[in-house]
């Protein structure tokens, strides 16, 4: 078990190192003038270019630059934003709460809706309820997130203005609970609808597989009530792939719910990245991208380890 964990962690470190190296090569490989120009933007005066070359040490050899890039990363130093002149870590820390709350709230909604929908569909396959769920899921999967979000904003502002729901930057619930809810409810629902569609599919498929197993028949044969068979015997085993997917999704989403944040103007990590691309603020893009990768890698390790507890066969792979 320990060996398995060590192997997974080592693999994760290698992935992160590859990500960092790729990012370094994408942005810093090439002649110093070109790199500084790209970082500063096409309209920056020559002094700024020189200053950037100086502060970033672009005149040093590639290997020296690479070493200091990795060194700074290990110390958690992500550099300074060109636009706002604040440390990238500060910007990220400011954006993180919005993203965290968005993912946490939406996760509760989509897990509840996804598992309930999947179980109902699986217990009565081909019933009216199952077919309705299937159509809703297909619509949910076909509807791009940003279109759903835009429709929600339109409805909230033009048709149901009395709800007080509105797009806007994240507000801390400790400062203004009402404002927090007015801003967060729409993004929660939007993200949850899109995710729930996937989880209904996953739960339904997994549940149908499980309910076809021999031990389910045995449970029924020994006289266990149907409710107990469905939930204690069936759902418990069927949830394993759902939990795996959940872990991976959480990791991915924490790195920035780019679309949902942008549609609702939530000012989270994802929107920070999009804004930085628009203004060419490369230190922020690099920092946020590496942080997002770290979330994903860690989530994958957690899922793998959790999975190996649930299913010992995995450890052999």
């Amino acid at each position: 078990m320990t060996r398995f964990i060590i192997r997974r962690v080592l693999f994760g470190v290698i992935v992160l190192w590859l990500v960092a190296t790729t990012v370094f090569l994408l942005f810093f490989a090439g002649p110093a003038d070109n790199v500084a120009r790209r970082l500063a933007g096409p309209r920056a005066p020559m002094e700024v270019i020189e200053q950037i070359k100086d502060t970033l040490g672009l005149n040093r050899s590639m290997w020296e630059q690479y070493a200091s890039f990795l060194g700074n990363l290990l110390h958690g130093d992500l550099g300074i934003s060109f636009i706002s002149q604040t440390p990238v870590t500060t910007l990220i820390m400011q954006s993180l709460p919005g993203t965290l709350w968005l993912v946490a709230g939406a996760a509760v909604l989509w897990m509840a809706a996804g598992i309930t929908g999947g179980v109902i569909s699986a217990v009565r396959p081909r019933s009216v309820l199952d077919r309705t769920t299937t159509v809703l899921v297909l619509a949910g999967i076909s509807l791009p997130t940003f279109v759903l979000g835009m429709l929600m904003v339109y409805l909230a502002l033009s048709v149901f203005p009395w709800t007080g729901l509105q797009p806007g930057p994240y507000i801390s619930p400790l400062l203004d609970l009402k404002g927090f809810l007015q801003v967060m409810i729409m993004p929660w629902v939007c993200l949850a609808v899109v995710q729930a569609a996937v989880y209904v599919r996953l739960t339904r498929g997994s549940m149908l597989d499980t309910l076809g197993e021999d031990y389910i028949r045995t449970a029924r044969a020994k006289g266990a009530p149907e409710r107990r068979v469905t939930y204690r015997h069936g759902l418990r085993a069927a949830l394993t792939p759902v939990v795996t997917q959940f872990g991976v999704d959480i990791g991915t989403l924490l790195g920035g719910v780019v679309v949902t944040e942008s549609v609702f103007g939530l000012q989270g990590l994802g929107q920070l990245m999009i804004r930085s691309v628009r203004y060419g603020d490369l230190p922020v893009i690099i920092g946020a991208a590496i942080l997002a990768s770290a979330f994903i890698v860690v989530a994958n390790i957690v899922v793998d380890v959790a999975y190996s507890f649930l299913d010992p066969r995995v450890r052999l792979a």
């Binding site: 279109v147 498929g205 997917q245 780019v258 990768s293």
Partner: protein, 315 residues
């Protein structure tokens, strides 16, 4: 009907009775698909959308509205707001006085081009990579499987953001990014199928007759991959179309001036409260397209494998 009846009837079979013709698996699949009403309607909708996209220049000539041309006189009200649907602007104008209908048609060209081209690329490379990994096994397989794991565990948007920041937004880059992620899904499916077929008797037979590995792969394995690859490719098209629309919406895809559904929707953000058509029409086209491809894909899956469940587990 009992046995005696059958034999009694057999005596009366006229000489010219039509011979029972065997139906190939493809014909059977097509017949099953033709009975699937949702799939056939979807096929019709897709055909109409493709036709509209192809005929976009014709419509532009009829209305006299170039997709990029701005008509501040006719397309905007005296207050500077976009005009609604009418005989001149069939679906209304956008905030710059451009013809929304014409722009949506040109947007269909971009969506279909990106959707089909990136899926085609992903399919070709996915088949080759997946088959080589599955067939050769060993370290080749190990390396590819790890690469696929990493690719599939990274969100495409994150990679797109980094690449666009480094290289600048363009249509080829977008097709490449989308194809790269679809390729991983395709390669994984093909790899699994190849591993399953590798040990079957007909492969063994081919090998014992002296067929080389490459020949065995392309002559004996590929035909068996057509069914799952067709299904996945049909389902990858709508995913790619949504990728494109999302990237363009975020300003990471095509040039923002280009008429693409995502860009049109992004343009509408500040105006759709006064002109809901700017949001509704392109959104409807996008939804219709992706829904049709998804329904068709599900239909093809049912037709090729009648035992399969309509909703397969997994994404």
């Amino acid at each position: 009907m009992s046995l005696t009846d059958a034999s009694a009837e057999a005596e009366h079979v006229p000489e010219e009775a039509p011979a029972v013709r065997g139906k190939g698996p493809w014909r059977l699949a097509w017949e099953r698909l033709a009975r699937d009403r949702a799939a056939m309607v979807s096929l019709g909708v897709i055909a109409v959308i493709v036709l509209l996209a192809l005929l976009a220049p014709v419509f532009a000539a009829i209305t006299g509205h170039d997709p990029q041309a701005q008509f501040p006189e006719t397309g905007l009200t005296p207050e500077g707001l976009p005009v609604g649907p009418g005989s001149d602007f069939w679906l209304g104008a956008d905030s710059l006085g451009r013809d929304l209908f014409i722009r949506i048609l040109y947007g269909a060209r971009i969506s279909l081009l990106v959707g089909l081209l990136s899926t085609l690329l992903a399919t070709v490379f996915g088949i080759v990579a997946g088959m080589v990994a599955g067939f050769y096994g060993g370290w080749v397989d190990g390396v590819l499987a790890r690469v696929l794991d990493v690719v599939l565990s990274f969100p495409y948007l994150l990679v797109a953001i980094v690449l666009v920041a480094a290289l600048g937004a363009s249509v080829p880059l977008m097709i490449f990014v989308i194809a790269f992620f679809s390729f991983a899904a395709m390669a994984r499916v093909v790899r699994g199928q190849t591993i399953a077929y590798k040990e079957r008797e007909f492969i063994e037979a081919a090998r014992s007759m002296g067929a080389g590995k490459v020949r065995t792969m392309f002559v004996d394995v590929v035909p068996n991959l057509i069914a799952p690859v067709t299904v996945l490719a049909t389902l990858l098209i709508p995913t790619s179309i949504v990728f494109e629309a999302t990237l363009s919406f975020l300003g990471l895809g095509v040039d923002p001036r280009t008429a693409s559904w995502g860009a049109i929707l992004a343009d509408s953000v500040d105006f759709y409260r006064v002109a809901p058509g700017l949001l509704v029409f392109p959104a409807l086209m996008l939804l219709l397209t992706t829904l049709s491809f998804n329904l068709l894909g599900d239909g093809i899956r049912d037709a090729l494998d009648p035992r399969s469940d309509r909703l397969l587990p997994g994404k």
